[in-house]
């Protein structure tokens, strides 16, 4: 019976990095760092050979070093929140969180390659790592310059309590009916 429940529950946790694992990984800022302002959140916990985040970071806030399979290490003090690492990451695993956006709202930036793109000031459905809708969000920035190479970066504003949870939006074209 146990297996049956396991199958019928289409929301099993496979493919989601557990929060404890994220929070102890070297690319994840501490809760205190998150409170200070714009900082990137790197959700990369497997030793794969990859380092473009290090190459693109002009401030030296992300270090992979050698061997190339090291997990990216974030120095939150050096991160100025430019967000160039977001579109370059082949795993789309980097986000930018600004918990100081307003009194009770935070701004979250993330890669979003699905078309059509929302427009600035659109209301969207913010989703968590399981794709479940968490809350409404407001789009404040849609950036897709040539240098991002077809990986647009969206910034949305959500209630501050969701900063550890919201990592994207429900895509506007939800597929065939």
């Amino acid at each position: 019976m146990k297996e049956k429940a396991h199958l019928l529950d289409l929301s099993q946790d496979t493919g989601i990095i557990p929060e404890e694992e994220l929070e102890t990984s070297p690319g994840y800022p501490s809760k205190a760092d998150l409170k200070k302002g714009s900082v990137v959140v790197i959700e990369c916990t497997e030793e794969v050979p990859c380092d473009p985040c290090e190459t693109v970071c002009k401030g030296g806030a992300i270090v992979v070093g050698e061997p190339i399979t090291n997990l990216p290490r974030l120095d939150p003090e050096k991160c100025n929140g430019c967000g160039l690492c977001i579109p370059i990451c082949p795993g789309l695993a980097i986000f930018l969180v600004d918990a100081t956006y307003s009194e009770d709202e935070a701004a979250i930036s993330f890669p979003h390659e699905y078309l059509p793109l929302p427009k600035e000031s659109d209301e969207v459905e913010a989703v968590n790592r399981k794709g479940r809708i968490v809350c409404k969000g407001k789009v404040i920035k849609v950036r897709s310059p040539k240098s991002y190479n077809h990986t647009p970066v969206l910034t949305i504003v959500v209630p501050k309590k969701h900063i550890h949870e919201v990592r994207g939006i429900r895509r506007l074209n939800k597929g065939a009916k």
């Binding site: 199958l7 429900r170 895509r171």
Partner: protein, 364 residues
């Protein structure tokens, strides 16, 4: 009427990432290279790989596969590779290959040959697997990304290796809905970042689950999936039916090594590399002195390592034919080997690195 044989110093079979990289390195050094590909366009699978590559700057990390394809084609043209498309290589014997283009068949004499024929997708035979709408994940990727035809709108992906995960994501980008990714093993096969992308889009990834049957009148209409026990046997009562019009099989690849069998290369069976793989040394040379390999035919990996192996084979041949000084060639080969081994680090690469070592030791 017997025609005179064509001749070249290096014949490369297959114009994918490995073959193109090999052709560029060898031609750059001065080798007279002819490259044969059975398709109407070179590039192999690169032009359907619209995702950004992993690796480091020297491996072209962050650049999309199709852009790497264009770069390679440009370089090939610059260094003067004689590229023959729509040309099937039907055989190798000693230093000769047989080619056919349309109705014309010729023999080509080549001092050295590099086989870079890639790999083919493994099938999975379940009841209904011959219905239209059941296809390899790579085939679906070719249809949508190269030919711009979406082969289905409601998809079941079978297999959670990087191919299954990446193609699922690209199906979403193309506007399809992926109902589930099923994986027979208890663990996701590919990178967790690829899996996480799908999960954020609401796609379930079901481990210890597989497809039992595909059904439909004229094409796929539904698929039955089922939980598996520890012995990978279906658990009765744990079936579930999904309404789908496309079932993609991403259950591994096997080296396309028929030409190497025909030529008389020795093989070793290494499941980590996709099955029977021609034995080769650290210069990519097989057990036949004139025959080299590069890319997936030498063990299934991915495009970045295929390109490095191509360079290694190209430099080896250039050195051996006297176009590079011995120490020059050795230095360059060491640089390439270093980049290659960095791609085989970590929990995913380690297994391949070990299998490759075994392959090289087998040569003696």
């Amino acid at each position: 009427m017997a025609k005179e044989n064509l001749a070249c110093e290096l014949a490369i079979i297959g114009g994918g990432p490995a073959g193109l990289a090999a052709a560029i390195e060898a031609a750059k050094a001065g080798v007279r290279v002819s490259l044969f590909d059975e398709n109407e366009k070179p590039g192999g699978q690169l032009f359907k790989q619209i995702h950004k590559f992993f690796g480091s700057k020297e491996h072209q990390a962050g650049i999309r596969g199709h852009d790497i394809g264009y770069q390679l084609l440009n370089e090939c043209q610059k260094v003067g590779v004689d590229t023959r498309l729509n040309t099937v290589v039907w055989g190798i014997e000693d230093n000769k290959i047989g080619i056919v283009n349309g109705r014309t068949s010729r023999i080509v004499d080549a001092k050295r040959i590099i086989v870079a024929t890639g790999a083919s997708e493994n099938p999975l035979s379940v009841p209904g697997w011959t219905l239209p709408g059941v296809m390899g994940a790579g085939a679906a990727q070719t249809m949508m990304n190269v030919h711009r035809v979406l082969p289905g709108t409601k998809v079941l992906m079978v297999g959670s290796g990087n191919v299954g995960l990446i193609v699922s994501y690209q199906l979403l980008l193309a506007g399809a809905e992926v109902l589930a990714v099923v994986e027979a093993l208890p663990k996701i096969g590919g990178y967790v970042v690829h899996a996480a992308k799908l999960r954020r889009a609401g796609v379930p990834i079901l481990t210890s689950t597989s497809i039992l049957e595909a059904r439909g009148k004229e094409a796929v209409e539904e698929a039955t999936i089922c939980s598996l026990d520890n012995n990978l046997s279906p658990i009765k009562g744990c079936e579930r039916t999904l309404k789908v019009d496309l079932i993609c099989l991403a259950v591994g690849l096997s080296p396309l090594a028929e030409l190497c069998w025909m030529a008389g290369c020795k093989f070793k069976h290494l499941p980590e590399l996709g099955g029977f793989v021609p034995i080769h040394d650290e210069n990519m040379r097989t057990t036949l002195s004139y025959l080299y390999l590069a890319g997936d035919v030498a063990g299934v990996e991915e495009a970045s390592s295929a390109m490095e192996e191509g360079k290694l084979a190209g430099v080896s041949v250039a050195g051996e034919l006297g176009y590079l000084k011995k120490d020059e060639a050795e230095e360059e080969k060491d640089r390439i080997r270093k980049r290659l081994s960095s791609l085989r680090l970590g929990p995913f690469g380690d297994m391949r690195a070990k299998a490759k070592l075994e392959l090289m030791r087998a040569r003696g």
